[in-house]
Symmetry: C3
Subunit: 204 residues, 3 copies
Amino acid sequence: MLYTIDLLGVIAFSISGVLVALSKRMDPFGILIIAFVTATGGGMMRDVLIGATPVFWMINPMYVYLILGSTIFAIIFRHKIDYLRTSLFLFDTVGIGLYTVIGIEKGISAGLSMPICIILGTMTACFGGVIRDILCNEIPVIFREEIYATPCILGGISFFLLELLPIEDNMVLLSSGLIVIAIRLVAVRFKISLPNLYAHEDNV
Amino acid sequence: MLYTIDLLGVIAFSISGVLVALSKRMDPFGILIIAFVTATGGGMMRDVLIGATPVFWMINPMYVYLILGSTIFAIIFRHKIDYLRTSLFLFDTVGIGLYTVIGIEKGISAGLSMPICIILGTMTACFGGVIRDILCNEIPVIFREEIYATPCILGGISFFLLELLPIEDNMVLLSSGLIVIAIRLVAVRFKISLPNLYAHEDNV
Amino acid sequence: MLYTIDLLGVIAFSISGVLVALSKRMDPFGILIIAFVTATGGGMMRDVLIGATPVFWMINPMYVYLILGSTIFAIIFRHKIDYLRTSLFLFDTVGIGLYTVIGIEKGISAGLSMPICIILGTMTACFGGVIRDILCNEIPVIFREEIYATPCILGGISFFLLELLPIEDNMVLLSSGLIVIAIRLVAVRFKISLPNLYAHEDNV
């Protein structure tokens, strides 16, 4: 089941990449690359930094086919994709929850300490979007309006707190993934964001 | 002979990096770095992602000297380099053909599957230019006007088709490299490009 | 003692990252990431390219805590940080000297040749700033007004010249680090920079 959710996340991230690339008027090859890095960039960076090479999508080419398929689908239906916006947001949020948990797991397998594992989880979930924005010549959106990273960090902390309790490993994974998802949904619904450091300058 | 062609590719890529850096009014150190990543960035990314570290130019410092020499040459003769434009285009095209084949070979040696090897070949040939453009604060040119990646992908597919035939390995390498070169020359000569997704919006 | 200086360098680089991120009006998470890559980006790139993974800050989480602390400090006292400008410049310069030497040492341990080790030292000292500028959507400052890389390269060359003399290893490390620092201080004091390639065009 985890694997199915992973694939949903890949689809949602790919389509979000396509939409950004279209807004930059890229050609089909550029769109494909942007979709690819949006979906795989965070996990790829994680694998490179911990030395888990060849990186994950080289070992399981399913990711390549899925991203290629999602990209072609999104290009063809680009004028109708607005109808899917809510579904995409949900897939994306579920993907973030899952990617966070996968990143933490990989860090634990590599024998890394707790804070590093939380960083790896957050990186897996968030850095595809960062690389996408750099390739599109934008300051990464999560550095300006934060709705991604904080849920991942809090979910990562929950993971290690839940591990202290006498519950099963699978339940810990599932619960901390759900915590990421819940925090993000609540934050978006109620427009909660990090404190604005520039409010004072703006008012004067 | 392959090695000689490799060096011609390095020279052409370095000089193309110098020209872009000069147009951005960089200082000599910046120019050198841009030349370096243009010539080595694709192969460096490939080596990092498959775990072939230390990366190739660390093991054979010839690349460093050659790029340094080409950069100094190109800076000194920067006002006359226009006379070399056709030669440079040919070197560049030959370099792309060869880099594609080298990337595929490295993927095969690492035991990776066919689609991943084709991606690695294309990455080796094209991503030096991508990193160059990111460092110069531009949206990578191959994401907008595609004349690089498609020949590499088609050449990569040819490689694996030719391998099915009863011909020698060296001939497969040579032929698929020549296919990349031929497709690119034809595409540039006849201004063939990927379909324009924005034509409709532009006309209205 | 080396370790203490390393930490001073990390603090200075983090704070310089915070100042750049504030000028781009990033949110607290973005500021933290920029501080992080400014302080660790060069060493992280070095470790990835030579295959020394997991990268250094994953093995010793002290770096993570120190950067987090420096960032919070710099955000709180952001309106008063001008008073620290001279201290920060000194820390930064000392950090560059030390990072250069650390990078060279890592290259030697990995069995790499002299020119590659000098490149690794320069990369360790300078590329945190390069990645910071890319994330902030700027052409890296060291590619335009060079005050960083040349002292590192000259210090690296000194390192290998000093090694030929019959002096202790620790003295070689210390002396070449001091050479980096001295050259940078002199260059900044007397506004020495690389030759301006564009002076002629500007005058006409």
